[in-house]
Amino acid sequence: MKRIYFFIIAFFCCLLLPLAPDQQVFAARAREGVYVYDGADLFTDGQEDELQKYLQRMGEKAGVGIYVLTSDDSNNGTSDRYLEDFYDDGYDRDKIVKDAVLMHIDMQERYVNIQAYGKAEGKIPDRTADKIIDAFYNDMRRGDYYRASTVFADKVNYYMNYVPIYLRAWVHLLAAMAVGAVVVGVMVSHSGGTVTTNSGTYFDSRLSGVRASRDDYIRTTLTKRRKPQETSRSSGGGGGHVSSGGHSHSSAGRHF
């Protein structure tokens, strides 16, 4: 009987396993950072304060740093380069959260750009970054940069916490119980002995055999259907971009 209790306790311990507590460590650190760098002065002072708080809160939930940068131009480079340099510099001086999603709004080019670093790179690959832009693109065109920035933060939070159905704990629990039921079911049904004869046991192969056999082709039918849209799911690989500081990231950008 002791074994039974052991199994049951082990079973419930496993339930608690996925609740790993590295969130608190991150939260303490994230409270100090600056998340809004409004070089192009797109936000009012009040908006800037609100946004700073909002990005901080969403970043805590998402477990990453969420940064919004605006500038009048990209320092004579590309927006990609601008963000990479910002990240490299922040990384070297330990001024930013290493797992980060950055958005840059370049007002000269009217270009918005997103890059994701660290563990965010896997969760938000190029394709997902592009989807995030979709979500706030209309706000951006209308010039509502504040709203666009909050939507950006919302979406980052959503994708960082998104767990595909096959990775959810309750799905695993159901699957595990199904396997358990099948295994036990087989054991119970086998406990009384199993059939160990089959159609070959009493078969006399010397006297049996095929006497007549025909395989006649009749006709062919052909149907066609359109190839489904490429729906390759987000891979963990990220985007394959690397900053000059050696930090790999994913990215997506668009003119507005």
């Binding site: 496993c14 629990l173 595990a176 119970v188 049996s208 039918t221």
Partner: protein, 374 residues
């Protein structure tokens, strides 16, 4: 007509010994070939009035263990009057009445323990054609059964350790072994499906074929249990028996064991074997059609007939086992040692296995998730 085999040296009763495959005398150790004994045995010793079959209207009452045979009793009563069976046999050694049912063909004298064969129930149309002698003796059977109990992963702990084998009986169960032969015919529409991509489209090409097969079918010695008492499912699970040990029937093989005669003749059991062999033929016929994606039968015809049926005695150890006031019956193949029968199951162990397997799989899934998807 009672038949007993006597030791030529000391006069004690001989028993079939599965190890030496000979008749053996327990008193002096003398052994005797089955063939020799069979020849001697046909002339029964001590010819006397006792051996003459005399109808006994009270035979049913003379069965001592009424509880056990309650159901059979009534039937026997009816049948014995009808067919004039229900007769009394007396032991040649001690003269005691040998306790038999109408089906018994071999047993031991309950008084002196001598193996007795009821010769008149083993001759004529009741003569078995073949027999597989026991190759597992009582001690080996007990040992194998104990081991099997211990290995039961779902059986309660007490069941595994307790030695509660109430009784273990070696019994020759009557079977019919059928040789079946015939033909099978199938007319099908089959398809081969192939998919390929060209441009923006996926093309599915389906080629249709008309498939025809005619096969010869032969199945050898398919066993069907011919005893009314025996559970058909249990007996089917005992298979397969290895026919390399199949012998021409001789009465001495029965010495020391229980044996019964068939309750159903080969014609009565033919539907059962036919149904079974048709299933086999079906899968054989299907196996001759391959290389297709789908096969649909338009017409199928399997025609199997009995070629031969051999009345055969097969060795079975019946084990009665008491556990928590209920009796569990197991059967062991007396040739191969395969054991069948529903053991008691422990709810706690079932729950433990379920929880254990589920927890293991769950933990594995979680670990894989943590390692590869975080």
């Amino acid at each position: 007509m009672i038949i007993q085999y006597k030791c030529p040296s000391c006069g004690a009763d001989l028993q079939y010994d599965s190890k030496s495959k000979k008749l053996k005398c327990d008193s002096c150790g003398r052994e005797m070939e089955v063939d020799d004994a069979a020849f001697d045995g046909t002339i029964p010793e001590g010819e006397g009035g006792n051996d003459a079959p005399n109808p006994d209207p009270f035979s049913a009452n003379s069965i001592p263990d009424e509880a056990e045979f309650e159901e059979i009793e009534i039937e026997e009563n009816q049948r014995s009057f009808k067919e004039g069976e229900g007769r009394q046999y007396n032991c040649n050694n001690c003269g005691a009445v040998v306790i038999t049912t109408d089906d018994t063909t071999a047993t031991t004298c309950s008084f002196c323990g001598a193996p007795v064969m009821l010769g008149d129930r083993l001759t004529g149309e009741l003569a078995p054609a073949r027999i597989i002698p026991f190759s597992i003796n009582k001690e080996q059977a007990k040992e194998a059964f104990r081991k099997w109990c211990k290995n039961g992963r779902l059986t309660p702990k007490g069941f595994m350790t307790a030695d509660r084998i109430k009784n273990i009986t070696g019994m020759y169960v009557p079977f019919w072994l059928y040789d079946m032969g015939g033909t099978g015919e199938a007319d099908c529409t089959a398809t081969r499906v192939r998919s390929y991509t060209r441009g923006d489209y996926i093309y599915t090409e389906t080629k249709y074929y008309h498939v025809y097969r005619r096969v010869n079918l032969a199945y050898r010695m398919v066993p069907v249990d011919a005893s009314e008492k025996m559970n058909d499912t249990l007996m089917d699970l005992l298979e397969p028996f290895s026919y390399k040990d199949l012998k021409e029937f001789k009465m001495p093989y029965l010495a020391g064991y229980l044996a019964e005669k068939y309750n159903y003749n080969d014609r009565q059991l033919l539907p059962r074997v036919q149904q079974r062999v048709e299933g086999y033929a079906d899968s054989y016929l299907r196996s001759t059609i391959h290389g297709y994606t789908t096969v649909t039968y338009n017409h199928k015809n399997i025609n199997l007939q009995k070629i031969n049926a051999y009345y055969t005695l097969l060795p079975v150890w019946m084990v009665c086992y008491d556990y928590r006031d209920s009796e569990h019956v197991f059967a062991m193949n007396g040739q191969t040692g395969k054991i069948v029968g529903k053991p008691p199951l422990s709810k706690g162990k079932i729950a433990a296995w379920f929880a254990g397997v589920s927890a293991g799989v769950f933990a594995l899934l979680q670990v894989v998730t943590l390692l590869f998807f975080r």
